[in-house]
């Protein structure tokens, strides 16, 4: 019987071998899938077992998101947002099943699972301490951010404000209105969070959307800066004093209609570039666009970063001047209408590019990552995104935009003792509907420290309410807040 016993022993060996192989498969190859399955509540519990890193601003002096030890063994660490609404879209929220904003984009650092933190995590594991994440310090200027939110919210309209440091690309302000309180969305209770989320999601005002980077709007006259940039770049002899045609009515080829200036105003048949921009004539820029052609307009737009996807590290919806739809459409595109759609961040980048002698810096929100032990793990180095125009062209554009604030439609953005350059915009949305109000600006002209774009949705009531009246005062406050320090 020993022969058969030995074969049975081999059968037992095979059975144990199969069990071990299968357990190994489950514990290694399949483990990740099983661990992250949405029906596995452990993933949910694990979210609250980590002492998440904080989110700060102003070089760590202001706390935007903090972790509180509740002592509850199941849901030990709770997340709180002391400054709430003004920062909600940037900071995001840490919900039971997902996370948004910086909470989502930098989650690997915040929860300590980033490879750079692996040694620290291993130490925690061995010593039995809860895992601790790294803190993320943002570039935001909290004073300017809060002021921008207050100003924009007080208009009662939807909108967004973005302010950049033109020399680095650091985002100083990013506000979207209406906003929401992130605290109820960060509770460790799926039912409560879902209820709060659904209420916000169903809201007609769509408060969850980050209008600064995730929605695009017709930029209106602010886009004339890009058209001017293309015009100057096309021929080195052109400058702010170059005289261009400014007819009262510009016939659009292939159609029976003609393009007029705002409310049928006259720009005198001919005007210099600086005059045309200062009072925001439509026909000269429409004609410039048509004369340059779609490809040159598109090329100039791309040099400002338009059309390229961007991660700041929040994902930015690409802006777009629209497809080539013929001369008549191009005329409208050149004055920021038609299919021309920009995010407020993109228009801030246009202003910042002009301010920074033609070089657009890559916008970023994260200033630095600070490890659980207080040591700096990473900091963002400013990076050039593109060369939009030459310094000479930038200087001409600056000259024109300075004139806009001094003598034109943007006087509301003047700052005492500081030279401001800017451009208003009023974008028609649909016949009979209120227009969007825009304002882009930077200051001080001699040594730019802040570039800003303000967008107020349906902000212009009926007639001549231009971006200068609604949007420029907000830009004024934000620039003052940034420069005042």
């Amino acid at each position: 019987m020993n022969g058969t016993l030995k074969r049975v022993a081999i059968a037992c060996l095979v059975m144990f071998g199969l069990l071990m192989a299968n357990v190994t498969y489950l514990g290694t190859v399949k483990a990740e899938e099983l661990r992250t399955d949405s029906r596995n509540a452990r993933a949910f519990y694990a979210r609250y077992a980590v002492d998440r890193g904080w989110i700060t601003a102003d070089d760590g002096k202001t706390t935007l998101a903090k972790t509180v030890d509740t002592g509850d063994p199941t849901y030990r660490f709770a997340r709180q947002y002391p400054l709430g609404k003004p920062f909600a879209h940037v900071v995001g929220y840490f919900a039971p099943e997902n996370s948004t904003g910086i909470e989502g984009a930098e989650r690997r650092f915040l929860d300590g699972s980033h490879p750079d933190l692996i040694v620290r995590r291993a130490v925690d594991l061995v010593s039995g301490k809860p895992a601790k994440g790294a803190s993320v310090d943002l570039t935001l200027n909290t004073k300017a951010q809060q002021l921008a939110y207050k100003d924009l919210a007080s208009t009662g309209k939807r909108g967004a404000v973005v302010a950049l440091n033109p020399k680095t690309g650091a985002i100083l302000t990013m506000v979207s209105v209406p906003s929401y309180d992130p605290n109820p969305l960060a509770l460790a209770d799926k039912a409560k969070v879902n209820k709060a989320y659904n209420k916000l999601d169903k809201d007609d005002q769509k408060p969850l959307l980050n209008r600064a980077i995730n929605l695009t709007y017709a930029p209106g006259s602010t886009f004339k800066t890009v058209t001017s940039a293309a015009f100057f770049s096309d021929d080195g002899s052109r400058n702010a004093d170059t005289t261009v045609d400014a007819p009262d009515a510009l016939p659009l080829p292939g159609t029976t209609i003609a393009l007029h200036n705002y409310h049928g105003e006259s720009c005198g048949g001919q005007a210099t570039m600086v005059e045309a921009l200062t009072i925001s004539c439509n026909t000269p820029f429409a004609k410039i666009g048509m004369d340059l052609g779609y490809d040159k307009m598109k090329e100039q737009a791309a040099k400002f970063g338009i059309g390229a996807p961007l991660s700041i590290p929040l994902l930015v919806t690409p802006s777009d001047i629209g497809p080539d739809e013929g001369k008549a459409a191009l005329a409208k595109t050149s004055i920021g209408q038609q299919s021309n759609q920009m995010t407020p961040l993109q228009m801030a980048m246009v202003a910042a590019g002009i301010a920074n002698q033609g070089t657009v810096m890559k916008p970023y929100l994260v200033n630095k990552i600070v490890g659980p032990d207080g040591g700096e793990i990473d900091s963002t180095r400013p990076d050039e995104l593109s060369e939009a125009v030459t310094p000479e062209v930038a200087a001409e554009l600056t000259k024109m935009m300075t004139n806009v604030v001094q003598h034109g439609t943007g006087t509301a953005a003047q700052l005492p003792g500081i030279t401001v350059a800017g451009k208003t915009g009023t974008a028609e949305t649909a016949p009979g509907k209120p227009s969007h109000a825009w304002f882009i600006a930077f200051a001080p002209v001699e040594d730019p420290k802040v570039a800003v774009a303000v967008f107020v949705e349906s902000g212009s009531a009926g007639n001549d309410a231009t971006g200068g009246q609604v949007a420029a005062p907000i830009a004024h406050d934000v620039m003052q807040a940034v420069l005042g320090q």
């Binding site: 019987m1 059975m15 069990l19 357990v23 489950l26």
Partner: protein, 459 residues
Amino acid sequence: MSAVDGEPVPMTAKRRGAQLAMLAFAVLIVMAAYASVGLGIDKKIPSGMLTYGLGLGGLMLAAYLVLAKFAPWADPLLLPLVTLVNGLGLVMIYRIEQTGQAGASATNQLMWTALGVVMFSATLIVLKDHRALQRLTYTAGFVGVGLLVLPLLPFIGKEINGARIWIGIGGFTIQPAEFAKLALVVFFAGYLVAKRDVLALAGRRLLFIDLPRARDLGPVLITWAVSLGVLVMQKDLGSSLLLFGAFIAMLYIATQRTSWVLIGVLLFVGGAILAGQVFSHVHDRFEVFLDPQDPALYDRPFGGSYQLLQGLFGIGSGGILGTGLGQGHPKLIPLSFSDFIFAATGEELGLTGLMALLMVYALIVQRGLRTALAARDPFSKLLAGGLAFILAWQLFIIVGGVTRLIPLTGLVTPFMSAGGSALLANWMLIALLVRMSDAARRPPPQAIQDEGLTQVMQR
């Protein structure tokens, strides 16, 4: 066939000191695991650690003393290995009890462990020579079948969780199939030793296998029918698979005929497929096995994949090193203290812990099979081989089911799962193996030198 196959086993040392040291080591590991649970939960050494640890240590010392007195030549590894898995099972149940899962009670399990050790000792003391069991072949058969049928009787039979495999006596519920398992292995061994020559007779040769004679198929068919009967009447897939597999394995050991194995496997697969089409609960198990992640199956209130998937989540979340004792979420796995204790252990001890655990079980089985190889008479060989195999087979069925290697059929994980009947029966199983290993390792009486040619061969 000669009484002693192959070379005689040269080992004659008792190795009792080594056994005691290993026993102490096993108890030490268990106590460390207790401490680890407490540290994991609330950073404190649990107050019950000494009670449980010393309780277990005392019990095992008693078992050791009985063994040393009544089976001094027994295999030195069996008792420490069983102590280790039994102890780790206690720790896991204690840990699950801390989460508040209903039904988990470490105190009860410790009490049953104590009773198990009593049964172990009693078996060793009463059964001086296991060959006495051979005389009880048919008695064992009747007792086995009787125990199997018991839960079907009115009044004492109880249906729990959809399976009618329990009887209630006084305040206790007993799972008689666990004891039936032992009785039937004894019966199979006795019956097959008596009939193996007949069964091994060749019938006709078909293709490359020798088919047995038609009338010899009788016992196989009867066992098959009983297994299917258990499956159908009690909805107990696990026990049915366990008994039939053990019978086929023992039939093969006894007759050396592969054809029996093939016929047995075909019969069982045929029966299982038929059952899968006729009975919804069998069908459900197959469905769940094929795709446990299907949301429709997951959400099905009865016969769904919720439990299996939660167990798999536990093992997957444990990963390679596990969360550490006291730091997982075994409460999420239904019945984590009984059928699914392996998954709960996987979560907290990880792949590493499960491998170690499987290795300990494999060693127990190996010691059993080694006893079978060393045994000196066919009955002992068959009984030891059968008992060792049924242990391995039971582990394969339940662990394979929980880890989705095979369809899930409910069985307890030997020595680990909460449950008194299984613990008692398995301690008796180990006692039988210990008794047989003692006989196998005991040096044979020396032949009388002067008897010359008339010497009587030791048999």
